[in-house]
Amino acid sequence: MKNILLRNLEVFDRNQRTDAPAGFEYDNVVGAWVSKQNKTNFLVMSQSPDVPNVGTKKNDMETGEDQKGE
């Protein structure tokens, strides 16, 4: 008999890696993604429509949550 936990298994595509949008780069010293033109302009605080979507719970991979998982 099939394991009861597999009866309603939610299947989804493997996570696509999220990359920062063009115009931003990771600054090692600042420790965050910043504008290439102005390092005081943080990606997550910018008004860019391409800001990575941290606004959803996504697939809630509780392996330590998403990217922290591995």
Partner: protein
């Protein structure tokens, strides 16, 4: 050469954008912080002395020295153990990279006298679901009737109880070749389950609380940020399955529930926790706590300043 000697160490991953929110706050507060990304460690030159409790190294253009007399806090956004099973395509080299750098990062527990958000030893213990139910019970939470069994044992459930929640006892994230699978909580009617059939694994058999309102309470130190989760229709099952079809509405928790939440986080040796609760027939039930729960998604849906609160907690004496 500019050497960073931090008061605050942030362990993260380059693409963990939630961390950027906290970094922004730390920069705004003009704190001496250092962010080390786990995925960049294989490209670093680094050494750790477990007796003097010092770490020094270089990652690209970043040179740093972590000293015990200076370090005050660690924001630890890393797994406590690897849940993902290696597949046959992972080379021996990559297996070593994965395991040995993970162990290196866990070695930060040599810093016993700093403020951790959260200490991985505490997280490891707190992630155990039966353990957290026990601690929540001790903190005075109401808990749905629960057993762990490898068959559908229902004798512990009230006679009148029509619904049963079946859940994994640990995160069940599965490799399905070109796809992934995740086991969410399933709600069954009692009559749908065969209590004689043995399952190949244990699982939670829990009182199904239907109808319900789901709550998520994010605890940062002594502060709570609470939302109720509302769908277009009543949500009987796992709200996480509804992804973008739900709304998060800030609520004020009763003071006694707030207190239980902060007490639970403290009793688990944590500074941060994401607690799932249910309101059922006007009663508040504890469901589970996630010591590594995400929170940035909440900020974009509410006006919660969780990033500021985390930064404040890292910087307070």
């Amino acid at each position: 050469m500019n050497i960073i000697r931090p008061d605050i160490l942030v362990i993260s991953n380059k693409l963990d954008f939630s961390t950027d929110y906290v970094i922004y706050q730390l920069k705004h507060l003009k704190k001496d912080y250092l962010r080390i990304n786990r995925d960049e460690l294989p490209n670093s030159k680094i050494k750790l002395n477990p007796l003097s409790k010092t770490i020094s190294g270089t990652i690209k253009n970043l040179t740093f020295e972590i000293r015990p007399e200076k370090l005050k806090a660690i924001y630890y956004r890393a797994p406590t153990f690897l849940r993902k099973v290696f597949d046959n395509e992972t080379t021996p080299e990559n297996q070593l990279i994965k395991t040995q750098w993970a162990a290196f990062v866990r070695s930060l527990i040599i810093f016993e006298n700093v403020k951790w958000i959260n200490n991985p030893v505490s997280t490891y213990r707190a992630e155990n679901k039966p353990y957290q139910l026990m601690k929540a019970n001790e903190c005075g939470f109401e808990i749905p009737k629960t057993l762990i069994a490898n068959y559908c044992e229902t004798s512990h459930l009230p006679e009148r109880n029509e619904f049963i929640a079946i859940k994994s006892i640990d995160t069940a994230y599965l490799n399905l070749n070109d796809k992934n699978g995740f086991v969410y909580t399933s709600i069954y009617k009692k009559k749908e389950l065969d209590d004689s059939a043995l399952n190949s694994t244990p699982f939670f058999v829990q009182e199904g609380l239907v109808p319900k309102i789901d709550l998520r309470i994010t605890v940062v130190g002594s502060k709570t940020f609470a939302v109720k989760i509302i769908g277009k229709e009543q949500i009987d099952g796992d709200w996480r399955l509804l992804k973008d079809k739900i709304n998060y509405v800030p609520i004020n928790l009763p003071k006694e529930v707030q207190k239980k939440c902060t007490n639970l986080v403290m009793s688990l040796g944590l500074e941060f926790g994401a607690i799932d609760m249910i309101i059922h027939k006007n009663r508040y039930f504890f469901i589970e706590i996630n010591p590594t729960g995400e929170w940035a998604w909440l900020m974009s849906n509410t006006k919660f300043d969780i990033d500021q609160e985390i930064a404040r907690l890292l910087t307070e004496n």
